[in-house]
Subunit: 198 residues, 2 copies
């Protein structure tokens, strides 16, 4: 029987996403990840190094999936609105990503893959600044805060779902409420991106 190296790596990464999203970095045991993947713990160490290296890889992979799935398609306010709606959809369908980011926040300390992520965000901020319109440069919201706010508006529902339910009176699984929330996120993104009037 040949070793299915790629398949084993994939199974370990999938198991790591589930375990890390459930329990965070500190409380998750490498044994639990290996057991979930049905793989020997030593092979996990061989493939990925230590737990911290695996955490960094998981976070990079999950953020990479979001970045591939949701792109700013053009340079206008409608494009920013649609980007925000698609980000909302992505987080609703992949709740593990908001959980990983929450764990990172609760744990404190330096972020995983700080250099690559900072470059990624710098590029993103620059593209959103262009989409806001260069002629509005003095009256617009700063594009870095805009980008940060769009992530908040897309991910906050997953972050505090009980608060969302108490305030809106509906569960996020309710189809009508999910559509209403998405509509709000798109409209909010348009309002935040618009050049100031008056």
């Amino acid at each position: 029987m040949a070793w299915d190296t790629e398949g084993t790596r994939r199974r370990l990464l999938d198991a790591a996403v589930i375990e890390f999203a459930a329990g965070g970095f500190a409380a998750t045991k490498v044994e639990a990840i290996a057991a979930r993947a049905g793989v020997n713990k030593e092979r996990l160490y061989n493939y990925f190094g230590d737990k911290k290296a695996l955490w960094d890889l998981v976070l990079a992979a999950e953020l990479g999936r979001l970045a591939s799935a949701v792109r700013l398609s053009g340079a206008g306010l409608d494009d920013i609105g649609e980007f925000a709606g698609a980000t909302f959809d992505y987080h609703a369908e992949h709740p593990q990503l908001a959980r990983l980011l929450q764990w990172e926040g609760l744990q404190g300390g330096p972020p995983a893959n700080a250099a690559e992520r900072s470059i990624h965000y710098r590029d993103k901020v620059a593209r959103f600044g262009i989409a806001q319109g260069e002629d509005a440069i003095d009256s617009r919201i700063d594009p870095d805060h805009l980008v940060f706010a769009l992530i908040a508006l897309a991910a906050w529902w997953q972050t505090v779902p009980q608060l969302a339910e108490m305030i809106t009176g509906a569960d996020g699984q309710d189809i009508d409420e999910r559509a209403r929330r998405r509509g709000f996120v798109v409209e909010a993104a348009r309002r935040l991106s618009a050049p100031t009037k008056g």
Copy 2:
């Protein structure tokens, strides 16, 4: 020596805020709270019942402190903006509150004190609806989503501080950056509350 009952309760509650904010409900041990307060574990049980009752009390008390400190003072867009700015200040100065809400979200299950909080939020949504202006009722953002978004914009900085630093390029302790963030939150709240134009 007389028993200082109020003082002991206070010390236990203060210790519980610190321990629960650091570790969440599940990982926090009642022993650690009692030890931090310098009080016998049995007295903690006598005063508060079990760990869940203490968690509920801590969350209610911390949310109550926010509600007392930050009020919607009038019925206009400037008032909503100022409310959002004051909420941002409160979260910046009391990072434990966002942490408690995060733990609640990560832990899942029904929220603490659901009935009282739902009533509180229903009342808040009604007041924000009035502040948005009743004549804009068809074109405005739904006031429940507005309230939810204002909490997101005020608390998201504390929730994912590393993300905030990577995107803005500055630490939240930096005085200039904190003022810039506050200014953004006020402006964002105004934009989200305004009646739609055009």
